[in-house]
């Protein structure tokens, strides 16, 4: 176990390192002058030069990269106007645009994306696993066809299409739901819930199809296993069989997939956030990309990449926890 975690951690650091390298290389080749952008349009060449120096943009790119890595591990100082701005490790740098610390900017947006992701997860698990179990237990042509149709449709609808359609129907036409907005959970739980309900459903409807199919096939597969057959031969009731014995095996892949999907969602909620105007990580990314705000983009890639890699490790661990036959090595 420890060896497994250690090996995974080393691999994770390697992957994240490679990520920073690729983003840095890509953005170094980018057109546009960050110093000019940071300074504003009315800046004189002398002022731009000053800004460039202050942001450390006059240094060769490998030095800039080295400083970035140093900040990540040990923290670094920035000169900000009059005094020094200390950025403690892990320091993702300071936005060229607003002068804010990137880690603060990301931390401010994280609750939005997290709310979106976890809320959607609850709904897709309830919908997906529920439908999957039902159709596995009541096998028949109709349920199978329905599920196949649902799954195919689910994979075929992009979130911005289903979201838009739901927005028109539920918010604009029927006025059953308020237009989505984000109110922090700590401020007003009720508004938080209602404001996010539509985004949650848009995301979850699409996801749940996948989960229904996975749950169904995993359940059928578990029910066909030897130990279940033995239980059945002993006269264990079908209901008991399913809830006590088969469910555990059937849910193993579902749990692992959930962990993985949650991790990816932090990077891929961009579309949902843009559509509904939720101020999460994705919104921050789109805006900082258009402003060529390198530190923010690098920071976001790192953080979302971290989520994906971490989710993979968690998924592996959950597999081992829920299915004793899996050996971590």
């Amino acid at each position: 176990m420890t060896r497994f975690l250690l090996r995974k951690a080393v691999g994770m650091i390697g992957v994240l390192f490679a990520l920073t390298l690729v983003v840095y290389a890509a953005f170094y080749l980018a057109p546009g002058d960050p110093a000019q952008l940071a300074c504003g349009e009315k800046c004189s060449p002398a002022q731009v030069l000053q800004v460039r120096e202050r942001l450390g943009l006059d240094a060769p790119v490998h030095l800039q990269y080295a400083r970035f890595l140093q900040g990540l591990v040990a923290g670094r100082d920035f000169s900000a106007g009059t005094g020094l701005l200390h950025c403690p490790a892990p320091c993702l740098g300071v936005s060229y645009r607003s002068g804010e610390q990137v880690s603060d900017m990301i931390a401010a947006r994280l609750p939005v994306t997290a709310s979106l992701a976890f809320g959607a997860m609850v709904i897709w698990l309830v919908l997906g696993v529920g439908t999957g179990l039902l159709s596995a237990l009541r096998r028949g042509r109709l349920s199978e066809r329905l599920l196949t149709a649902l799954t195919l449709t689910g994979t075929a609808v992009p979130v911005f299409v289903i979201g838009l359609v739901l927005l028109i129907v539920l918010c604009a036409q029927l006025q059953w739901l308020p237009f989505p907005s984000y109110v922090p959970l700590t401020e007003d739980p009720q508004q938080w819930f209602w404001g996010l309900l539509l985004p949650w459903f848009s995301l979850a409807l699409i996801e749940s199809a996948k989960y229904a199919r996975l749950t169904r096939s995993a359940m059928l597969e578990t029910l066909a296993e030897d130990h279940i057959r033995t239980f059945r031969a002993y006269g264990v009731s079908e209901r008991h069989l399913v809830t006590r014995h088969a469910l555990r095996g059937a849910l193993t892949p579902v749990i692992a997939l959930t962990a993985m999907d949650l991790g990816t969602l932090f990077g891929s909620a961009v579309l949902t956030e843009s559509l509904f105007g939720l101020p999460g990580l994705g919104k921050l990314l789109v805006s900082s990309v258009s402003l060529i705000d390198l530190p923010t983009v690098v920071g976001l890639v790192l953080v979302t990449g971290f989520c994906v890699v971490l989710a993979n490790i968690v998924a592996d661990l959950l597999y081992a926890v829920t299915d004793r036959r899996v050996v971590l090595g």
Partner: protein, 350 residues
Amino acid sequence: MAPQEPTAGEARAAAPAAGRRQVWRRLLARRTARAAGLVIALLLLIAVAAPLLSAIEGQDPTSYHNDLLDSAAGGVPTGSLGGVSADHWLGVEPGTGRDVFARLVHGARLSLLVAVGATVVQVTIGVLLGLAAGLGSRLLDQLIGNTTEVMLALPSLVFAISLMAVVPADFPRPLLLTLVIGLLGWAGTSRLVRAQTLSLRQLDYVAAARLAGAGRWRIARRELLPALAAPVITYAAILLPSNVVSEAGLSFLGVGVKPPTSSWGQMLSGATTWFRADPMYVLLPSAVLFATVLAFTVLGDAVRTELDPRAASRLRVGAARQAAASPTGPPTGPSVGLPVGLPADEEATA
């Protein structure tokens, strides 16, 4: 957990199910596949004939028609259903007055071009790297394996957005879209091909070729590639619809093609501001995009059933347990947002 070594059973499953003509015949025998094929054929026709179609209508996708807009209402098209008329079959765009029909058919062109192009890029890179990893030295295998690992961990949508934004504006956008989607999405194919190669190379007929003195390149080309065709085509059929969504998604976010080039995703992003005043303008690109992706998905599903009956029946009845016990399958792509990396497919996790 190291990637699970494929068993001989998987290799058997990978061998082509039947002759090409038989597969075609059986595909055509499926009603859903036939319908999907018909839709795709129609789309291809529309895409190819886009300029002709808009010429028949007497419009083009880029001219503004301010006279058709109600400036008092903020630029909503005059007339019913978003300004449908004999001149403008599907109405005009709110705000600009560009012809919706012309923009939709030209959008089909872009969508298919980018999606097919990206799939070709993904499959080419994936097959080459997968073969190299499966046949090459251990060092090469390790190197390619690590790169694949990084590619899979890449938050692909985040990355695609960043890349689209940093490339100079004078670089042709459709080509850029193709390259970005293609270059970010080959990891799954490469992994699949490597695993298949590793199991195929242990089969007798490959060993026989080796003993007969065939070199690596010849073995790859003459012995392995034909056997790899079925799984790779199956996988490509899953990648294609997800690439359609990727293109639409990037254009939706405003980093894809730039106006005046038209794209369905871009129309949808415009629609977010107009959906109250002009619902037609939302529904049309939505419906077209949905139909396209659905048709490709259904066809992909049918192709999989025909080319890989074992895997397909496993999906229905329940997979072999050892496959499910291995969590090392590639992580599924962010299907919610944008499956640039990998298509959402339960096989990838099962």
